[in-house]
Amino acid sequence: MIYAGIDAGSRTIKVVLVNGNDLSVMASGVADQGLTQTALASKLFDRVLKKVGVNRRRVRKVLATGWGRDTVAFADTTITEITCQACGVYHERGDAKTVIDIGGQDSKLLRLDTDGKVRDFVMSDRCAAGTGRFLEVVAARLNVKLADLGRLAGRAGKPSAISSMCVVFAETEIIGLLASNEKAENIVAGIQKSIASRIASMAGRTIAEPVVFTGGVALVPGMAKALEAALGHPVHVARHAQLTGALGAAILSSR
């Protein structure tokens, strides 16, 4: 029996198929989000099904999550990404106590009970501050690839002070820093530091270990290190950081 989880995020769509017998992952896939959200999710779903050579009829249940969960027309049901992330992370790491998820459009922090259930959560508000979108804007402004941000930050002597957490204003700040000949690596390190300290203040004073880092931004090199410095706790990047939401959705659909 196959169960599918679809995480329709703000920047990417993720699909995971699990085997209902042992909850092992059969296949997965990631595609960019776009204008035609319903069609994009559908296309990715078929692509992932093709990998294991089955058609939709073999899928017992489809569960959608993420911002675009209601656009996944073929989903049987929806559950929020908070519950799905927690489930996905717990499945991969049964001892996880804190989950930091930084996606394209928001960041969240989940505290888990010992049974993997969400105890409470906090989320960033209305703007794109401290999110993947923020890093994208920075990368574009500095003319580097998203994947190269970490390497660049690693070379930083002294992270620049970026005080503005608004994407638009931060971009202005970066232009100002560039104008005063600040090195790109210091700016990147400064941005990562500011995102990390925002997460740290969201977390408050009590952080239970282990801390697991998920979401697309977890894949950006250097971010986990910046988070560790801000939180004062080791941060483990989830094995499949971008897919934990979809994995959780697939597992939940099997229950």
């Binding site: 092992s24 519950t83 928001d106 049974d115 969400v118 209305r126 897919l243 994995l247």
Partner: protein, 440 residues
């Protein structure tokens, strides 16, 4: 003019606080029409009724008095022959106009109230002889200075240390001054009898509204939080409203909600008030599976918990005593709010506390830290804080948070039902196969 078109024109005139807000629970929550529909439907046209009442009273020589906060003792205004009308703005469309004068990073309630004045679109403000306000939060206080440039205003100095007897004494003096102001302005004398009558009337309304709110203590509340909120009128003590309150108390018990109350998560709502037109968050909570069983805020129970002692020797002191002790976040330390929350949590048995903070409402914002602590550490209730303004742009985000909160609560209930001690895995089979995530 035909009856119908007359009604229409009133509506048009009554754009504003005023904008007929979407009626509660249409679709979700409101069961098939029954006896209970009478009183509930009556309040769908609340603004129209208020307008009709205000106009009629003015014709008889009454004076419209604008108020902007629950600290204003309506009794004094009523005893002076005035009709107190709440001017708090809840309309997003008035904000841009306000921002020509006020900073954009200010609470939407302040901006909307002022925006109405700029646009001259709140008929009650246009009818008002005078506006009575208090030095509550800094945003309001400074906005009143601008409002006073075009409106007749009297601002009371609200002292802010509720435990300090000198602070109360000062508040008594402020109310005595207000009495003189009203007497002079309306060429009348506020006699003890008149004041006593007004106090008795306000006490009656408070009692009725408390009883209505008390219906939500039931395991199966007969109305939604939004329906209850809708029954708050911007003019207190209108005879027709009081009649409907009485009627509602008779017909509502036993009414069944759809989906049934037993399938919803009981929510205690706290934080800022939800003025008419800005009920969006209540709707979102209830559309996503919640039931707001208790509203601690100023549009809910906070201002109606205590009555005024109508038998007191010094009625002015009795008035001052009641109003001074409203637990708004402008007070310091605001001990009474936490006592009230404890009491309401015990009586209404919520399964979570949701706090709404209007953007840039500094005092509620800072105080939310302590509310969260009370909820989680003392009451053992999940807490969710919603920062928002009047723009619907974040409705999807708010929905997602409330859904996630309810999922979390349901999961807890499930765990408890199954009797699995926390810490034990929930029968989730751990993956035995090798994960091949992202192999592509």
């Amino acid at each position: 003019m035909s009856e119908q078109s007359k009604k229409k024109s009133v509506h048009k005139q009554a754009r504003g606080p005023c904008r007929p807000s979407t009626s509660p629970g249409k679709g979700k929550g409101r069961p098939a029409p029954g006896a209970a529909d009478g009183p509930l439907a009556w309040f769908d046209d609340m603004v129209t009724h208020c307008l009709g009442y205000a106009e009629a009273r003015m014709k008889q020589g009454g004076h419209i008095v604008g108020i902007t906060c629950e600290y204003t003792p309506r009794e004094l205004i009523m005893a002076a022959g005035g009709i107190p009308v709440c001017l708090c703005g809840g309309n997003e469309d008035t904000i841009t106009a306000a921002e020509e004068f006020l900073p954009s990073n200010l609470c939407p309630l302040i901006k909307s109230t002022f925006g109405y004045s700029v646009l001259k679109e709140n008929p009650f403000l246009e009818m008002a002889d005078i506006v009575i306000a208090e030095t509550t939060c800094d945003g309001k206080k400074k906005m009143y200075e601008l409002l006073a440039e075009s409106r007749s205003m009297h601002v009371l100095e609200l002292t802010q240390k509720p435990a300090d007897p000198h602070a109360l004494e000062h508040w008594v003096l402020e109310l005595r001054e207000l009495k003189r102001v009203l007497e002079k302005r309306f060429q009348t004398s506020i006699t003890r009898d008149k004041l006593k009558g007004a106090i008795a009337l306000m006490n009656r309304e408070r009692q009725l509204r408390r009883k209505l709110a008390g219906l939500m203590k039931s395991d199966m509340p007969p109305l939604t939080g939004r329906e209850l909120l809708n029954m708050k009128s911007i003019i207190a003590c209108m005879p027709a409203d009081l009649e409907q309150y009485e009627k509602a108390l008779q017909v509502l018990p036993g009414r069944k909600l759809d989906p049934p109350a037993s399938e919803r998560i009981r929510v205690l709502l706290t934080g800022v008030p939800m003025p008419h037109g800005a009920e969006r968050v209540v709707d979102l909570i209830e559309e996503n599976g919640g039931l707001v069983v208790c509203q601690e805020n100023c549009t809910g129970l906070k201002p109606i918990m205590d009555d005024v002692d109508a038998g007191a020797e010094d009625l002015m002191c009795a008035l001052a005593e009641k109003y001074f002790h409203l637990p708004c976040s402008v007070m310091t330390p605001n001990v009474r709010r936490f006592d009230l929350l404890r009491r309401l949590a015990a009586e209404y048995r919520p399964e979570c506390i949701v706090e709404v903070i209007w953007q840039a409402c500094l005092t509620y914002d800072v105080e939310s830290f302590s509310v969260k602590r009370l909820a989680e550490k003392e009451l053992d209730l999940p807490y969710l804080r919603i920062d928002t303004d009047y723009s619907p742009s974040d409705s999807a985000r708010i929905s997602m948070r409330t859904q996630a909160l309810f999922e979390t609560i349901r999961a807890r209930i499930e765990t408890r039902k199954r009797g699995v001690p926390p810490g034990e895995p929930q029968g989730l089979e751990r993956s035995t196969g090798q994960n091949d995530l992202c192999r592509d």
